[in-house]
Structure formats: structure tokens, C-alpha cells
């Protein structure tokens, strides 16, 4: 069993295929929707955590891609300019998911992309604006 987070990008014309339903029903994947942004006629985004045996996840990826939906692991979509960070900790204030934490002995910021739920609060909370989430490409 493995659990991974993905960003799914839907083309505007895809409305008939119930992708999420099929992932659950046909592939028996446990799905947790973390973030969704869907408007008629526009590119849609869905951030999902999918839990299933690795083989099943691979089959599901093939299914998603067949329908022209882009599916990228979440960590590849989050950019954090580590080299410019002053380790102030302001971003940890808003990270209720626990992806951003301060190291007690290092006093450095630790970013665990696997815990990120793409709430985007850190984009605003960082006083140096070092975070960006690129789910619009």
C-alpha cells in the first residue's frame, strides 16, 4: 500500500468523464481531496492524496493520462527558494498541515512537501515571498 499526493490538471473540455468516481469505483483507490479549483470552461485543478497498492496506482495513472488529464506528484509543483530563506519561521505559523516546521536544534526551516495540502497560506505568510505553487501550467 502506498500513499501519494498528486496535482491533477483537467482540460476545459473534459466534463463527461467522472475521473474521481472511477478512481474510487474501478480501481478501489482511497482518495482524499485536499484542494479543488474547478470553473466551467477553464482549466481545473484537483489536489488528491491517493492510497492504493503501487501497481494499482500505476494503472490509475495510465487511466488518468488517457483522458488527457495531467497528473504530477505534488512536491514537483511547490517551489521554495531555500537559498534565500532567513529561517524566521513566519510560514510555520500558518502551516496547519505540519509541512513547514522549525528544527529545534538547527533553528532552520524544514519543508516536508509530502505533508503539504496546498492551502497556499505560506505564499502570503512568507515575508520574503519565497514560496510559489505552480499548478496553473
Amino acid at each position: 500500500m502506498s500513499s501519494k499526493r498528486f496535482v491533477l490538471t483537467f482540460p476545459p473540455e473534459l466534463t463527461s468523464e467522472p475521473i474521481t468516481y472511477n478512481l474510487i469505483k474501478q480501481y478501489d483507490i482511497m482518495i482524499n481531496i485536499l484542494n479543488a479549483e474547478i470553473s466551467p470552461g477553464e482549466i481545473g485543478h484537483l489536489v488528491l492524496e491517493m492510497s492504493a497498492p503501487t501497481k494499482v496506482l500505476r494503472q490509475a495513472m495510465d487511466y488518468i493520462k488517457q483522458h488527457n488529464v495531467d497528473c504530477v506528484p505534488l512536491e514537483k509543483k511547490i517551489h521554495y527558494q531555500h537559498d534565500k530563506c532567513i529561517h524566521c519561521g513566519s510560514c510555520t505559523a500558518v502551516c496547519f498541515a505540519g509541512a513547514l516546521t522549525m528544527g529545534h536544534t538547527t533553528n532552520e526551516l524544514h519543508f516536508n512537501a509530502e505533508k503539504c495540502v496546498v492551502c497556499e497560506l505560506c505564499l502570503k505568510a512568507c515575508p520574503l515571498k519565497l514560496f510559489s505553487i505552480d499548478i496553473s501550467e
Partner: protein, 383 residues
């Protein structure tokens, strides 16, 4: 009678390479096993530091005269207005100044760009006078082209500060960072046991003229900071609870580094500047030894509701708890988050330590000490 050391004795030890200089963090750790008398005997200087957002900051700049000369009146740098209501080519860049209310580039960014050695666009207009006939200028300046570039911050290095929380049901964007609704987080902004004025809470060794580390260069304490308040209640360890003393500091911005002066933007609040300050505390007697041994568990501050608009006091907390990552308030476990960088503060304390050990940084006796009976006035609405 207990032993005392003069600043001159300590400086002599520094000159001869015999001084023992430790960071405040190291002395706090030693304090668990040693007595103040032992610390006085073993340690001569303790280096303290902070690197946090300090809005009340800025820099004076003298552009040099143009040909023909001009009395610059309305002045901008990279389109950010700077204060030109002083002599012909002098100006003051306020760290929080912006051109338009929601801009995320402001005075602090201009200061950082200048420190980085970048060219900055100077534009100014004037009415023109007989002695200053020019009425317009547009050119590029940088820190090497101007005469003086002097950082002068009216209020820095707050001795202790409130913890900010939000009891309302809406997210609040404040100068204390983003506050999640329903006590979703608690933000604090002091370097605790490393903080300069918490290691000399009665300001016995820090006063006007004290040489300090400012933004990567040697600077000085110019005066007490604005909103200097000695009237706050003091806890059992002699630490004022909540916002109290402050420092006004000055130094040559041309010598500073962007590692220790950093422009910042707080969402929906505005532009501010992270300022790196380090202050050496001479261990002159047992009382000062006792002071520099202060630990995070002994430093307390107030928890204030920044969401409701009436600054309600919700409780007290110590910095050991704040640095642990969570605290309990009204029976609820809340995540705590710092706004000031302990990593960079530790780096400053270490640099200052090395500067002193190498003899490049000597300690100073204050020219004058600060008032011990200062309170705060409110701005009454009288019309």
C-alpha cells in the same frame, strides 16, 4: 565585598587576547550548573543578538550636488517617496514607505538594494531658487556615488514583545504575521535568552554611545528608542513582561551586508525590514553575571488578541514554551511560531564574539544611561 571588573579592565584583556567571550546561548546553558560568582570569574563578555522585523528603521542619504545645483524637494528612489524636507540634497528613506498603498516594494527594499551595491533611480523636483536653480533631476545613484548613507533607526531591539493570537472567526493579517482564526496559532518575535535587552534588563551597561553590531557593521546606540517604557511590571527574574525598553541605533549603511538587513513584506500590512543587531554585555559584577545567565524558561510575556481590535490580554507564557512549538491557551493546544530568526541571531552573536576575541571590537562605557522612569503617552483625540 564581591569582585567587580571595569570596562577598561575587560578591554585590556581583549587587547592582550585574554578575554573570555561567550554567546548568550552558551552562558544560559552554563547557568544551569554555575553560580553568578563563577560566571563573573570565568566570563568577561557575553554577546547577544536579534534579527527580526523592525519597522521603525530607515537611512539618511546625501546624494551630492548636481550641476547646476538643486534643492531637491519631492524625491523618490525607485519610485518610493523619500523624505526631502531637510537640506538640499539630504533625504531620509523610511523602511515602511511605499508609492501606492498596496505595493510590496518599499523603502526597506531601496535600502537593501543600495547595500547590495545596486543602482537605484533617483527622481526629484523642486521649485528652483536663486541659489538652487535646477528644478528636475533623473539619474542613477548607488552607495559609492552618494556621500553619506547612514542607517538611523528610531526604534529597534524591543526588550520583550507581545505574543499575538486571533480569537475571531476570520484570518487576520498583521505586523505579527498571519493569524489563523479561533486561536489557530500564536506568533512571537523575540530572540528570548539571546536578545540584547533581556540580558541587561535594567540597562546597566547599555546606554548612549554603546558600540554595537548593526546590520553587519559596527554601529552605535544613539539614544533610547521611541516608545521607551520602563513602567512595565517585572517578573521574579527581573524581566519586564511585554513591550518595554527600546533602542535608537545608528551606523554606516555602506559597510552593512544584505545578510543582516533584509527587506520584507507582511501580507496586507506592508513593507518592513529585518534588522540584525548584536550587543556585547560586559560581565562587570555578580549582578550582571546573574542577568546574562537568564534562560528562556525565565522570560515571560503577554498573550494579546490581535484579532478583536481591543488588544485583550489573554494570558502569560514563557519563551521555553514558545520555542517548543506549542502552548496551551484557554485549554486549547496552539501552535507557536517565531517571526524573528534565531538562526541568524546566533550567527550574529558568534560573529560579534569572534570580532571581540580578535581585538577588532572593543567595548564602550555608555556616555549616558537611560531614564529609569519613562512611561507612554497616548495620542488623545482633542478636536
Amino acid at each position: 565585598m564581591s569582585k567587580t571588573k571595569s570596562i577598561e579592565e575587560i578591554n585590556e584583556k581583549i587587547r592582550t587576547g585574554k578575554a573570555v567571550v561567550l554567546t548568550a546561548g552558551e552562558v544560559s546553558a552554563m547557568g544551569k550548573e554555575m553560580s553568578p560568582a563563577d560566571v563573573l570569574k570565568k566570563v568577561d563578555v557575553v554577546t547577544t543578538a536579534t534579527f527580526g522585523p523592525m519597522c521603525s528603521s530607515g537611512a539618511f542619504i546625501n546624494f551630492g550636488h548636481t550641476e547646476p545645483p538643486m534643492r531637491m524637494e519631492r524625491i523618490t528612489l525607485n519610485n518610493v517617496p523619500v523624505f526631502g524636507g531637510i537640506a538640499a540634497v539630504d533625504a531620509y528613506i523610511g523602511a515602511t514607505e511605499v508609492a501606492m498603498p498596496h505595493d510590496i516594494y518599499g523603502g526597506a527594499h531601496v535600502i537593501e538594494d543600495l547595500i547590495a551595491g545596486k543602482d537605484v533611480l533617483l527622481q526629484a523636483t523642486a521649485k528652483g531658487t536663486d541659489c538652487y536653480p535646477r528644478t528636475e533631476v533623473k539619474t542613477l545613484i548607488n552607495k559609492n556615488s552618494v556621500n553619506e548613507f547612514i542607517m538611523f533607526n528610531p526604534r529597534n531591539a524591543y526588550q520583550n514583545y507581545n505574543v499575538a493570537v486571533n480569537t475571531t472567526s476570520k484570518i487576520k493579517y498583521t505586523y505579527m504575521g498571519t493569524l489563523l482564526p479561533a486561536l489557530g496559532n500564536a506568533n512571537f518575535s523575540t530572540s528570548g535568552e539571546l536578545s540584547p535587552l533581556l540580558n541587561d534588563p535594567e540597562l546597566r551597561t547599555i546606554g548612549i554611545g554603546t558600540r554595537i553590531f548593526l546590520g553587519g557593521a559596527q554601529g552605535y546606540v544613539a539614544w533610547n528608542g521611541t516608545q521607551f517604557n520602563t513602567g512595565k511590571p517585572v517578573n521574579a527574574h527581573g524581566i519586564p513582561i511585554g513591550n518595554s525598553a527600546t533602542l535608537s541605533v545608528i551606523g554606516d549603511a555602506k559597510q552593512m551586508s544584505t545578510r543582516f538587513i533584509k527587506a520584507a513584506y507582511f501580507e496586507k500590512y506592508g513593507v518592513t525590514m529585518f534588522v540584525g543587531i548584536g550587543i556585547p554585555i560586559p560581565v562587570i559584577d555578580e549582578d550582571m553575571a546573574h542577568r546574562v545567565m537568564i534562560r528562556n524558561s525565565q522570560i515571560e510575556t503577554n498573550v494579546i488578541d490581535y484579532g478583536s481590535g481591543n488588544s485583550e490580554l489573554l494570558g502569560k507564557v514563557n519563551y521555553k514554551t514558545l520555542f517548543s512549538g506549542e502552548m496551551i491557551l484557554n485549554g486549547k493546544k496552539i501552535r507557536t511560531a517565531p517571526l524573528s530568526s534565531i538562526k541568524v541571531a546566533k550567527e550574529i552573536a558568534q560573529i560579534l564574539r569572534e570580532e571581540i576575541i580578535s581585538g577588532r571590537f572593543l567595548l564602550t562605557e555608555p556616555v549616558a544611561l537611560f531614564s529609569k522612569t519613562t512611561g507612554l503617552n497616548k495620542c488623545e483625540i482633542r478636536i
